[in-house]
Symmetry: C2
Subunit: 322 residues, 2 copies
């Protein structure tokens, strides 16, 4: 049974039209040389809220009933989903409470509050955010907006890949980061629906390869909460629904080290003039590290987000420039 | 006597069509709030070579005769003009020698060599780059491509403003950095030609306000070579031809401190996700510092370049993030 189909992604694109940004596709001769491929970067860093997450969140929240909107929405998130839910809730005219890890980047917490949401924090390594989120939602009677394990959220995330392939129709491969698996589930649904021969490749941090392991084991494998600079990719286990999609549509999953992620951020900064957060840079990191075999091929890569503070960027990248 | 007119800028735009990038115009709600104006950023950071300079250089070099092309071109530049001439020379199929200050950002020297040009260095505080450049050009019989004091170069630079006003026709003001004055001379020619009521405002580093002083004195005033982080804005005296244009078309010149420039770079990084070098950020710095009175008005700003290394950015901006 297919959890979502191309029509769901198309329907989501229509709903997002004029509300989400149609983000640009960036190219760079020097990146192509470094990567040994023709690279098309879907720059979701320029999406509202600074990441692709707005697509899924708005897609879900805009479908609430009048009664549900009168109450509010709840979400748990390491950052970008939080901002997306807060922003979408504001646009739709409903309240939002967000459960965020205590050690989230402070600019993400500030941005979430800036969009008008209430923030509740928890300890990422000791407490279960899903349980806290569910309890809050239940107590208040608010609707929980899951970060990935929801067909409507997944279909919304897939609109980024839909736009990319509408613009560049002859891609050989599509590369996307994997955390809970919502972005790549939506992306793979759009990509394989439009172009069955395309290869869909996921990228995880080396310390957080739960989806890679799960695909190898043909069942969802839980790992320790990964410690990586890619703060948006710290899922410990794939989602149930996302795994259902990804086991059928994702051709391969590769991993990158934190050092490779930093190098990709530096290249994107210096050559493309674009700010990409660690989680958003894993696709380019995999290409630069030649983790994906793509000699001379056209590869689409989703730069999933750009929410990294200047100080944090300086800590990560300072001292490594040529 | 007008040095250049709107038709020269239009003619240059036709020549650059399909060769220079038509760079995007960026907007940001949070920047608008911080600036207290409706801001339209012409993002020349995405131009070929990473700065607007390619427009003028290609405009000039592509008009060389066959005999001139057989020989080569020479240029003196603190960085971006160097890369632009090197890149344009390569595209046109001619040789280039570039005179660069010894203390130029190393990534700019590397990029210039990377485009295939020969680099000759000099001491910015002790030697006269114009003389070195002229002597080199004379000895070899190569054509000197001036960084700003040339009608064809000026007209080429004006195409950035032409594109911006074609896209946003109802701007109240246009803001551009001033070094030798070529960008703002071309920009003012395009802007006032298309929209006579627009205000054209130049921005200089506080330490390098030669054009502001010259306009006040109604003659070209020479200052000490300015020491500022804006390494592209270190002209000590306005150009002759550029001053002829700017004394008639520039309405006001304001200045910004190095600290204000760094704050603008941080805001552009965190809110817009775009990398802007110090010289390119002075327009936004002037808006954020409320140096330009623009309550609720539509203001076009040229982000003139993005050539800053990640390590240099980290030095400048690290530790200042919220």
């Amino acid at each position: 049974m297919a959890v979502i189909g191309l029509d769901d992604v198309r329907d989501s694109a229509a709903r997002l039209d004029g509300i989400a940004h149609r983000t640009p596709v960036l190219r760079s001769r020097s990146l192509n040389e470094l990567a040994g491929a023709e690279v098309y970067l879907k720059a979701e860093v320029f999406q509202r809220g600074g990441a692709f997450k707005f697509r899924g969140a708005y897609n879900r929240i805009s479908r609430l009933s009048t009664e549900e909107r009168r109450r509010g929405v709840a979400a748990y998130s390491s950052g970008n989903h939080a901002q997306a839910v807060a922003l979408a809730a504001g646009l739709v005219g409903t309240s939002a409470v967000i459960v965020m890890p205590k050690d989230s980047p402070p600019e993400k917490v500030a941005a979430t509050r800036g969009y008008g949401a209430e923030v509740v924090t928890y300890d990422r390594y000791r407490q279960d955010r899903e349980e806290i989120g569910r309890r809050l939602a239940e107590e208040r009677g608010w609707t929980l907006v899951p970060p990935y394990d929801d067909p409507v959220v997944m279909a919304g995330q897939g609109t980024a890949a839909l736009e990319l392939i509408e613009e560049v129709s002859d891609l050989h491969a599509l590369v996307a980061p994997i955390s809970g698996g919502g972005l790549i589930a939506g992306s793979a649904t759009a990509a394989k629906g439009l172009r069955p021969e395309i290869r869909v490749i996921g990228v995880e941090p080396a310390a957080g390869d739960d989806t890679r392991r799960s695909l190898q084991a043909s069942r969802r494998v839980r790992i320790e909460v990964p410690r990586t600079i890619a703060d948006g990719l710290q899922a410990a286990i794939p989602g149930e629904l996302t795994f259902e999609v990804n086991r059928r549509l994702v051709d391969d999953v590769v991993t990158v080290t934190d050092e490779e992620i930093v190098e990709a951020m530096r290249v994107l900064f210096e050559r493309l003039k674009v700010v990409v957060e660690p989680s958003g840079a894993v696709g380019v990191a995999a290409l630069l590290a030649r983790r994906i075999p793509t000699p001379g091929r056209r590869v689409g890569v989703i730069l999933s987000g750009g929410n990294v503070g200047a100080r944090r960027f300086a800590e990560l990248v300072g001292g490594r420039s040529a």
